[in-house]
């Protein structure tokens, strides 16, 4: 088996603050193969975006990272700024949540798409502009309606996100990281953007890391997924497998609390009472010693608070970091 394209190996991340050290990530390991799509789900503050930023080399100055992020043999945590600059946008590209802040409002969209081509691929102006035009066509912004001379404020949210996708595709990266790419969009537009991301990754064979708080999005766009909670990976496996078992109590709780899941269960009745998870995500300054989810978990025992539970095998390539994983059938 060849080495994975991207291998995050026991990445831990601490940020010292006035209130003490914030533990942002603990022991996060992810292997991503060429052409694979992997989903990362979790609530805000669980470390999803920080993992993505670590891969892009965009961590805050004060962040103290241990472990390794191996990309094609090089450790990105040790790489210098010049090496990272050559990588960002060229081999690893990112789509952000809010397209308006990701785009430069005073630069026309054609120039923004062409920027990476000129910088990384050293294309001439005319050639880069031609290529930018083709990219805009590809993402559903066809000429003549969408001139490359338009500025971001002249576009709607969905159209702006298409421009961001065109920028990310420009240099043919190996990995596309999509961090909540549709959270700011309406549902029908969201469906179009997800379709577009699925189509372009399938066409070019690039690997996809889809970060979302929405279980539905991850279910529909990825082959493998991992569930994060309070800076740790609590469950991971093939997407179909994880949804079939929902072995970690947090994954199961998240699923039960999601109104989408209730709606999808085909319940014919009227109003539904959601199964809320009591309490809230622990403060990164005061992470509990044992299992991070123990305080909110109905299955927690003394053993859970004694130490961090090791991942246990649930199925093929499917693990859950839990001493008492839920093994019964998922109610459909």
């Amino acid at each position: 088996m060849p080495a994975p394209l991207l291998h995050i190996d026991r990445l831990s991340l601490n940020i010292p603050t006035d209130e003490g050290v914030a533990e942002i990530l603990s022991d996060v390991s992810i292997a991503l193969n060429r052409g694979e799509s992997i989903g990362v789900v979790g609530e805000s503050g669980c470390g999803k975006s920080m993992t993505a930023l670590a891969v892009m080399g965009l961590l805050p100055e004060a962040a103290q990272a241990t472990g390794a992020i191996r990309f094609d043999g090089d450790d990105l945590l040790q790489a210098g700024e010049a090496a990272l600059c050559a990588l960002r946008g060229r081999r690893i590209a990112m789509i952000f949540q809010e397209p308006m802040t990701a785009l430069n409002p005073v630069m026309c969209i054609g120039a923004q798409v062409a920027e990476g081509l000129r910088l990384h691929l050293h294309l001439g102006r005319a050639e880069a502009e031609d290529q930018a035009r083709r990219l805009l066509d590809r993402v559903g912004l066809p000429a003549p309606r969408f001139s490359p001379r338009l500025y971001p404020p002249q576009l709607s949210g969905g159209q702006r996100q298409r421009v961001v996708i065109a920028m990310a595709l420009a240099c043919g990266p190996d990995i596309l990281i999509a961090d909540e790419p549709t959270t700011a969009l309406d549902v029908t537009i969201q469906a179009q953007i997800l379709d577009l991301i699925a189509a372009v990754t399938a066409e070019t064979g690039m690997a996809l890391i889809m970060i979302s708080h929405d279980l539905g999005i991850v279910a529909e766009t990825t082959e493998r997924m991992l569930v994060m909670y309070a800076g740790r990976i609590v469950e991971q496996g093939p997407t179909a497998e994880v949804f079939a078992r929902l072995a970690h109590p947090y994954t199961r709780g998240l699923f039960a609390a999601s109104p989408h899941a209730v709606a999808a269960s085909g319940d014919q009745g009227g109003r539904v009472r959601l199964a809320a998870i009591p309490g809230q995500v622990p403060d990164p300054h005061r992470r509990p010693r044992g299992c991070v989810f123990a305080d909110r978990c109905a299955r927690a025992t003394e053993a859970c608070r004694a130490g961090v539970p090791a991942p246990v095998a649930i199925g093929t390539n499917h693990t859950a970091a839990c001493i008492h994983p839920v093994l019964d059938e998922v109610p459909v």
Partner: protein, 322 residues
């Protein structure tokens, strides 16, 4: 309808857009185009639609923060826009609002006690400090917060707790109707469920009436009895919530329901089919506003605007083919 707590009839709201040139009349944008519905006391009514469909204009009009171009809003049979300024002020305590963003809607420099007590300032009981304090404690307790929370500042609370504070502020005047504009869309899934359940509990306990506005169909499904789907300022479908979502009649509602990502990996196959670029949305003149995007549109749809008509008891849609 005499038992309706809120009745909205033929509401129209036009906004003037910037003039194209100096002497041209300003073009008009019709944000609400003949919206009518009523909510019976103690019920929960949902409005769903995408951004720009007029949901928030509707909420602002019902709160009398905005005057309609035409149409009426009756609360308990009284026409809001026929009241004098003084009467309107007295009326406001019966209708309260919960906003979307619990970070933006609470003043960071005021203590929670003062934030929650603010709506009382226009009522008689708000003048007495002890009564005010008792009311604040009661409201905080109703939303599951300790009375000591009154002495803290908003930044000391998480997003879900802040939204509880916003709900306490809405409850303090003991209103009959609460207008909730996207109350949980800024919250995480597990916390969202807590807040939705709290809203349902409060309704059962205090007999509240909700107008629940959201772009998220699944959320609306969990807390409402009846729902109206809006598109470009019009109600295109209305009916009992469970029926609208299980058997949507209007093509727009069908598209909305189909677009929700479902946590079911088996649907993944459908996704990979290449996406067509979206059709340019042309202005529909006189015809059905949804016709340019509608897969079933025919010549008739572009000429004649369909009226909202009852298809089966209590369930209506504005579509020629429903």
């Amino acid at each position: 309808m005499t038992d309706a707590l809120l009745e909205v009839r033929d509401l129209v709201r036009d906004y003037a857009l910037p003039r194209r040139h100096l002497f041209a009349p300003p073009p008009r944008l019709r944000a609400l185009d003949g919206v009518s519905f009523h909510i019976a006391a103690g019920r929960s009514f949902g409005i769903v639609g995408e951004s720009g469909c007029g949901k928030s204009t509707l909420a602002r009009t019902i709160l009398a923060l905005e005057r309609p171009t035409a149409g009426r809003v009756h609360v308990r049979g009284r026409d809001l826009f026929a009241l004098s300024a003084h009467e309107l002020r007295a009326q406001r305590r019966h209708v309260q609002m919960i906003f979307q963003d619990p970070y933006g809607s609470l003043d960071p420099r005021q203590r929670v006690g003062r934030i929650v007590a603010e709506p009382l300032s226009m009522t008689a009981e708000g003048r007495d400090r002890a009564t005010r304090r008792a009311h604040v404690a009661e409201a905080l307790q109703a939303v599951g917060l300790a009375a000591e929370a009154a002495n803290k500042y908003p930044h000391e609370f998480s997003g879900g707790q802040r939204q509880r504070i916003a709900i306490a502020r809405a409850l303090i005047t003991r209103p009959e109707l609460i207008v909730a504009d996207e109350p949980v869309s800024a919250l995480d899934v597990s916390v969202q469920a807590q807040v939705l359940n709290l809203m349902s509990d409060l309704q059962a306990r205090l007999g509240l009436t909700y107008l629940f506005i959201s772009h998220d169909l699944s959320v609306v499904r969990c807390v409402t009895d009846e729902v109206a789907v809006m598109y470009r300022g019009r109600i295109v479908e209305q009916g009992p919530t469970s029926r609208v979502f299980t058997t949507p009649l209007h093509p727009y509602t069908q598209a909305l329901v189909a677009a929700i990502p479902k946590p079911d990996p088996r649907r993944r196959q459908d996704r990979s089919t290449a996406s067509a670029p979206p059709a340019p949305i042309a202005e529909a003149d006189g015809g059905c506003p949804f016709a340019p995007r509608c897969p079933r549109a025919e010549a008739r749809c572009r000429i004649e605007a369909p009226q909202l008509r009852t298809i089966e008891s209590g369930h209506s849609a504005a579509c020629h083919f429903a």
